[in-house]
């Protein structure tokens, strides 16, 4: 006959009677006090403070309404900034009107519409320094012997695509 559920439960309940000897819990309490005193002496005040701080943090719960309030604040801020009523970064952004004015180019550099065109009688000496860029930058000086070079607006005749199937 197999041990049924009720008999098993009764057997397990007998384990309630497995108790430590009389007076055990009083002695254990004294031991608990002794350990607490020892621990207090051993640990520094900072450690004790930190442990209490951590335990308080574990117990801290963010109230439910705080999430709603935070979302509301985000929506209001996004609306104000997005609509342009308030733009906090206008002073730091360089706009087109604040950009340094570039003076007219050297003689020979003609501006036709929005395109630059080089003409034959270019005065290269004007390229040395420009009032718009006071820093010294390396410049190209024309050779007396070299012919002027032009960039052709097109592919060279020898060009072949590297991938041909």
């Amino acid at each position: 006959m197999m041990l049924d559920e009720m008999q098993l439960k009764k057997l397990l309940r007998l384990k309630r009677l497995e108790q430590p000897p009389p007076g055990y819990f009083d002695r254990a309490l004294s031991e608990f006090h002794r350990r607490q005193r020892e621990e207090l002496l051993r640990r520094s005040a900072i450690q004790i403070w930190f442990e209490r701080f951590v335990s308080r943090m574990w117990g801290f719960r963010v109230p439910t309404y705080a999430y709603g309030a935070a979302f509301g604040a985000f929506v209001v801020a996004a609306t104000i900034i997005g609509s342009g009523v308030w733009a906090p970064f206008t002073q730091t952004v360089e706009t087109a009107s604040d950009a340094p004015k570039i003076g007219p180019g050297p003689a020979g550099l003609e501006l036709s519409g929005n395109r630059l065109a080089l003409s034959g009688n270019l005065d290269w000496s004007k390229f040395d320094r420009s009032p718009a860029s006071p820093r010294v930058v390396p410049t190209l000086r024309p050779s007396q012997t070299a012919l002027p070079r032009y960039v052709l607006d097109g592919r060279p005749a020898s060009y072949e695509a590297s991938f041909s199937f």
């Binding site: 197999m2 041990l3 439960k9 007998l14 254990a28 309490l29 608990f32 943090m57």
Partner: protein
């Protein structure tokens, strides 16, 4: 002071939080036997149970300022005890010695014991001390999570809902763990009876 005359837990906790160490002693008086029983039945060792009991109460004392009363103190301290014991048993692994061999002498007068041994049951056929030893061995074959559920439900008589709160699991899980643990215990004791 008798347990019935003790102030309620909420008052004792508040007093402890305000620095009254005597109030924490009263909480010890109220809960240490139950916590000891819980740890003892999960570890199967008196010495380990004694050490863990002190550690559980030390941890509870250190953390009591963070206790906000969302659950009862009873649930809170049981949760600390179960978690610490589970961690301890998992660390200890197989390296342990059973010391569950000192059944109270009053068991002979216990009504349930008389019921069990007076009728024609399998229990009657075996020596009580040996049966107890086998039961403890069977308990130790369960996983520590299953043992915790059996201890709280069958030995300490807690309801499923309370166990679920302590372990932080659904009630259905508590029931399924109990079902599985009972089946395991029955099988193990059946094997013993056949020998």
């Amino acid at each position: 002071m008798d347990d019935q005359n003790l102030p309620d837990d909420e008052t004792l906790v508040r007093r402890t939080q305000n620095g009254d160490t005597r109030a924490f002693d009263l909480l010890w008086q109220k809960y240490s036997p139950r916590i000891y029983s819980l740890i003892y039945n999960m570890t199967a060792n008196h010495d380990d149970a004694s050490d863990l009991l002190l550690e559980v109460f030390a941890k509870a004392y250190r953390s009591i300022n963070g206790f906000r009363g969302k659950s009862s103190f009873y649930t809170w301290i049981h949760a600390i005890a179960v978690n610490m014991t589970i961690n301890f048993v998992k660390k200890r692994g197989r390296r342990f010695q059973m010391s569950l061999d000192d059944l109270d002498a009053n068991v002979q007068n216990d009504k349930e014991f008389i019921d069990l041994t007076s009728t024609n049951t399998p229990v009657r056929e075996v020596d009580l001390a040996e049966l107890q030893h086998r039961l403890n061995e069977a308990m130790m074959k369960l996983s520590v999570e299953h043992r915790a559920v059996v201890t709280m439900f069958d030995i300490q008589g807690m309801p499923h809902a309370e166990i679920a709160k302590i372990l932080g699991i659904p009630e259905a899980t508590v029931r399924s763990r109990l079902f599985y643990a009972h089946r395991q215990l029955q099988n193990y004791l059946e094997e013993f009876r056949k020998k």
